[in-house]
Amino acid sequence: MSIDTENHDDLTNDAGHSESEHAESAHGEHDEHGLSDRGYVGIAIILAIMTAAEVAISYLDLPGWMFMSGLLVLMVVKFVMVVSFFMHLKFDSKIFTWLFYSGLILAVAVYGVMLATFQFFSRS
């Protein structure tokens, strides 16, 4: 038994979101699937500014703790912003969030222990 794909497309379109609704969502603030195109551009501008700030910090003669914490905080914020908004994790099922962050946390924990074992932290 097969189902007519075109009819089905129309069906999901009627039941879920019409073409005009989709078009509207492209210009509105956000819809249930994430941000609007304008919102994504805004996020990209913020990410670009943060990248410029990272490069600026690397050239500034800041105290060690300020230098390291500044770069690491910017790195983490950029990472979370891309994952949350561009990868839609903020708007998707929490199962995806758990799947991804469990892998990430496992990696950070395992390799953190590994680096500590090699006395990485005491040398730097």
Partner: protein, 237 residues
């Protein structure tokens, strides 16, 4: 389960989600990625009914699981680099080699490719094929620019005297950034293949979900570079 299939003409549009779940197994994977299953948001936006046991797209679930496992791969490579970056036994040292202005520009290019990718996904969800193809092509071009900059950087480093086996710093640096470069290259191939398939209408299942899957991979490559750029290039050894 052909007997349980529901003819589309009999389906109440308001109950489309639950009707999709009764379609035979052969078609369920591609059909359950409409505007509902696509986002797997049953928890946040109400249960629309799905053909999968989790109520989420299996393709998307598998992709997120794959990306979680990729964290472990790159975690190992980044840790190895952090461990060995000081083992350069004299020159050339990382601080002498790194061309921060060039790497900053290539990082910016990769970041902007994430924007064009998300615009492609957005266009695909609106069923706007023309803009989907344009943004996918722009993403591939930006990715190619990044890979080009990386090849230039590798060539420059080699001419400065840093080969793959010169020292532990060189081995770990080329392995880490090389693996990332290969991931970007695979992403470019997938993007161009997708554009070709979209033009020829050969994309199986739901087009928007296929674009979204490749988008997830592309953004992952970007977030890995966000980490590499800071830990490898900006924080001195």
């Amino acid at each position: 389960m052909a007997d349980t299939a529901t003819p589309t003409s009999d389906v109440d549009p308001g109950d489309a989600g639950s009707s999709v779940a009764t379609i035979d197994d052969e078609h369920a994977p591609s059909d359950d990625h409409g505007d509902h299953a696509d986002h797997g948001d049953h928890g946040d936006h109400g249960d629309h009914g799905h053909a999968t046991s989790t109520g989420l797209s299996n393709n998307k679930l598998a992709m997120w699981m794959f990306l979680g496992s990729e964290c472990l791969l790159f975690g190992g490579l980044i840790s190895t680099y952090m461990l060995y970056r000081g083992r350069h036994s004299g020159s050339p040292t990382p601080n002498q080699l790194y061309n921060i202005p060039l790497t900053s520009v290539s990082s910016f290019v990769l970041l902007m490719s994430s924007l064009t990718m998300v615009l492609a996904v957005s266009a695909a969800k609106r069923r706007d094929d023309r803009n989907t193809n344009i943004w996918l092509t722009v993403t591939a071009l930006l990715g190619a620019t990044f890979v080009g900059a990386q090849v230039f950087e590798f060539t420059e480093f080699y001419q400065e005297g840093l080969g793959f086996t010169t020292n532990l710093f060189g081995s770990s640096f080329y392995t880490l950034t090389g693996f990332h470069g290969v991931h970007v290259t695979v992403g470019i191939i997938m993007l161009l293949a997708l554009v070709g398939m979209l033009i020829r209408s050969r994309v199986p299942g739901d087009k928007a979900e296929v674009v979204e899957m490749i988008g997830l991979y592309w953004h992952f490559v970007d977030i890995i570079w966000i980490i590499i750029f800071t830990l490898v290039y900006l924080i001195p050894a």
